[in-house]
Symmetry: C2
Subunit: 245 residues, 2 copies
DNA sequence: CGCGAGCTTGATGCCGATCAATGCATGTGG
DNA sequence: CCACATGCATTGATCGGCATCAAGCTCGCG
């Protein structure tokens, strides 16, 4: 029904940070035109990743960071014994691959949950450039720091919230990020399965499903498979906060 | 009544990275003498933090990173509704305060669990210097990246392990870090309470205590309050891995 | 149309939380 | 020096939330 099932891999003309509608979310935040031109020079390539494919995998050599341009990713760990943990979901404007800097190997898998495109940013070139452009350096450090803070938030969630609180926090986080990107805060389409949500939240898929049903019964959400309408965001927020324990 | 409610902050002689026995663990890893001299120049001050005191607190202005020189810290979040989460324990040679870079405010509390000393590293000066010394830049990025990877590991633990597996993983992590610092891998003194361990692991203190007792019964540990002898590290490791689920 | 992946819903059981009592070490004031 | 208080740890009894097991259900697709 849609016109283009296949993604177009070759851009007919150079698409640069300076012309990207994500430049206020992504690496070039707050940079001057001249600085952005220099950044453009190192963001040479694009890469398309179709749904289900890996952008990178655990153990793979690390050489680049990836800025999500379109689409949606999950990152996940799989310990040898079959334990599995989704460590994050990543949408347009977010940076992937920071985990690889520490050891020159990727420490998680990054899997596209829908057909996606990323900008490939050579890491050594980024290092070189950020030695020259202090704004870039500063911004890059902020991005890494915020990733650490985000992870701490997830630890709080996993360590001290009940199932419904977790799901509420998750949904609010998603809608918040969508709003930042100019989408509706009340209507969203989940890109991931109940099982993936469960893995991220430390719950089983049945529990996630039950929580969705509960929210629907209580009038907080309208749930139709992966189509979600947020009817009462305040009630979700109240769950995350006081909860009434 | 006391002459100095303020802790003694001035060292009678300059103690520098170049003379620090932690230089192989801390920020100066792999730096030349000349580079280290320049780093010394920005690590001007020390700060003592006595047991129970905060090195920094949520919301406090961020201006410096702190390298633990002696002692032991926990970092923790406390959401307004009383939820509490220990996000990490930090020992000599580890860097604290990375969370503050993203927003110029600290996003967690750092509390000394014993009388401690830290080296104060002005963040802006570190940024400036790391634009000149690519080795320093590289190393700093690695440290941040490893922090992210560490957090992912904790997410895996919180999301998918049972109580005893969590405690086993925690103990192995501690002994590993102590070994790196030249201490015995089999004998350790816990610096934190059962409640703090529980908060970090997403468990209640009673559950932590029961797990310790279980390990003692099974001959994996010898537990005398906070004095722990690891008798069978392989069995602990087996718990973390296969577990037998 | 029939298959399969993903989702929902119910029944049951277990792990860890909760509540409660006791033990143990340290510290303080009488 | 002892009595008592305080903070932390251990242990037991009970309870509840989520996992687990087990059917059906929905929807997209070959």
């Amino acid at each position: 029904m849609q016109p283009a099932p296949t993604t177009i891999r070759l851009e007919p003309f150079k698409v640069a940070c300076s012309g990207c509608n994500l430049r206020e979310l992504c690496l070039p935040v707050g940079m001057s035109d001249e600085q952005m031109d220099r950044l453009d020079a190192i963001v040479a390539t694009r890469r398309s990743v179709s749904r289900g494919e890996a952008l990178f995998r655990v153990g793979g050599a690390f050489s680049s960071l990836y800025a999500v341009r379109t689409g949606f990713f999950k990152t996940c760990l799989s310990s040898e014994d079959g334990r599995d943990q989704v460590t994050g979901f990543h949408m347009a404007g977010e940076l992937l691959g920071l985990d690889g800097i520490g050891t020159d190997r990727h420490t998680c898998d990054a899997i596209a949950l829908e057909d996606s495109q990323v900008c490939v940013i050579g890491y050594h070139q980024l290092e070189d450039l950020s030695r020259e452009l202090s704004d870039l350096q500063r911004h890059f450090h902020r991005i890494m720091s915020r990733e650490i803070v985000r992870d701490h938030g997830v630890m709080l969630l996993l360590g001290s919230m009940r199932a419904e609180e977790r799901l509420a926090a998750f949904l609010l986080n998603l809608t918040q990020r969508l709003r930042t990107r100019g989408f509706s805060a009340s209507s969203l389409v989940l890109r991931m399965t109940r099982e993936e949500i469960g893995s991220y939240l430390g719950l089983k898929l049945e529990t996630v499903s039950r929580a969705f049903s509960k929210f629907q019964d209580d009038g907080l959400l309208d749930v139709k498979q992966r189509q979600i309408q947020v009817l009462n965001p305040d009630a979700l927020q109240a769950l995350v906060n006081g909860s009434g324990c």
